[in-house]
């Protein structure tokens, strides 16, 4: 049975998707890459903007999501935590 993603997993998937795209991604691409429904994505995105992990910008008339330094540090912290969890079997 496939394990349901936890909140921290979804946040990590979103931030990693932005990072993988060079730190800048279109909202629709983010939705597909992080495997989220539209409403879900909207709610998570608001949360991430509130926490200053990502920012919305406009470039040549298109809306983009960019990851902040704070967001990058958070990705690092979560990745270390996941590695710790995997190694110590938590």
């Amino acid at each position: 049975m496939v394990r349901k993603r936890e909140r921290s997993d979804i946040i990590l998937d979103m931030l990693v998707s932005i990072q993988d795209k060079g730190g800048k991604i279109k909202p629709t691409h983010l939705m597909y890459k992080a495997n989220l429904a539209h409403q879900q994505m909207k709610s998570y995105l608001e949360d991430l903007i509130d926490k200053d992990f990502v920012r919305e910008i406009k470039d040549k008339g298109y809306k983009y999501i960019i990851i902040t330094d704070h967001g990058l540090k958070f990705v690092e912290k979560i990745s270390q935590m996941k590695e710790f969890e995997r190694t110590f079997g938590l």
Binding site: E76, K82, T87, G89, L90
Partner: protein, 233 residues
């Protein structure tokens, strides 16, 4: 009457205190990281893991204190006729030594058992039974010293078996390092059982235990580095 505390280190004492301090800090830092992870994820396993590591760190703290034979020095002044005598008496503090060791052993066993609980599915009745057995073996350890090491050894074998299982599943360098570090800590407990036969058992056991904890630190540093690397890729 003046009151002053004095420590009386014996041979190897300075060294084994140092190794215990190293182990204490390693346990504290790993426990601290686990607590920070708990704040992010709210997974109760992180909290039990932190409690377990901090209990063991606290246990080392009490061991460090009792590793020194604690004396207190009292200076008395007595007037006999026209002459004033000043003399000093050294008193050995048995009470502190006894309770320090008792706390060291109790906290170590509870800490190890908590770590085991992270991986086992234990029922409440079992917890009560094991806590009772831990208290009994701690109390009896003052007359049968190796009882503590046999109990630690038993719990450590169970934990190490869990880490072997985890390594077989993960097949990573860090899980192998973790397994090796616990193997060394487990072997050190076997050697501690025989310390009364020859003092070399104590020295080798202390060294093995410290190498085990240093290996645990290496595992932890590698985990942090791997976490960073994975994201940079």
């Amino acid at each position: 009457m003046m009151f002053e505390l004095m420590y009386d280190p014996k041979w190897f004492y300075g060294k084994d205190v140092l190794t215990d301090i190293v182990s204490l800090f390693i346990l504290f830092f790993i426990g601290y990281f686990s607590l920070r992870s708990y704040n992010l994820k709210k997974n109760k396993n992180y909290l039990i893991f932190t409690a377990s590591f901090w209990l063991m760190a606290l246990s080392f703290f009490f061991k460090i204190i009792t590793n020194f034979t604690l004396y207190h020095k009292t200076t008395h002044i007595k007037q006999i006729g026209m002459v004033t005598f000043t003399y000093t008496i050294f008193h050995h503090s048995e009470l502190l030594f006894y309770f320090g060791f008792l706390l060291h052993r109790l906290l170590m066993l509870v800490g190890l058992y908590s770590l085991y609980c992270v991986y086992s599915r234990t029922k409440l009745n079992d917890y009560l039974l094991v806590i009772y057995l831990i208290i009994v073996s701690t109390l009896f350890t003052s007359s049968v010293y190796y009882l503590f090491h046999i109990t630690s050894l038993t719990i450590l074998i169970l934990i190490t078996y869990n880490y072997l299982d985890l390594h077989l599943k993960n097949n990573s360098k860090t899980s192998l390092l973790l397994f090796n570090s616990f193997i060394l800590i487990t072997i050190s407990q076997i050697l501690f059982i025989f310390v009364k036969l020859n003092s070399w058992f104590y020295i080798i056991a202390e060294i093995l235990q410290t190498i085990g904890f240093v290996l645990l630190l290496v595992t932890f540093i590698k985990v942090l580095k791997n976490g960073k690397k994975k994201r940079k890729k």
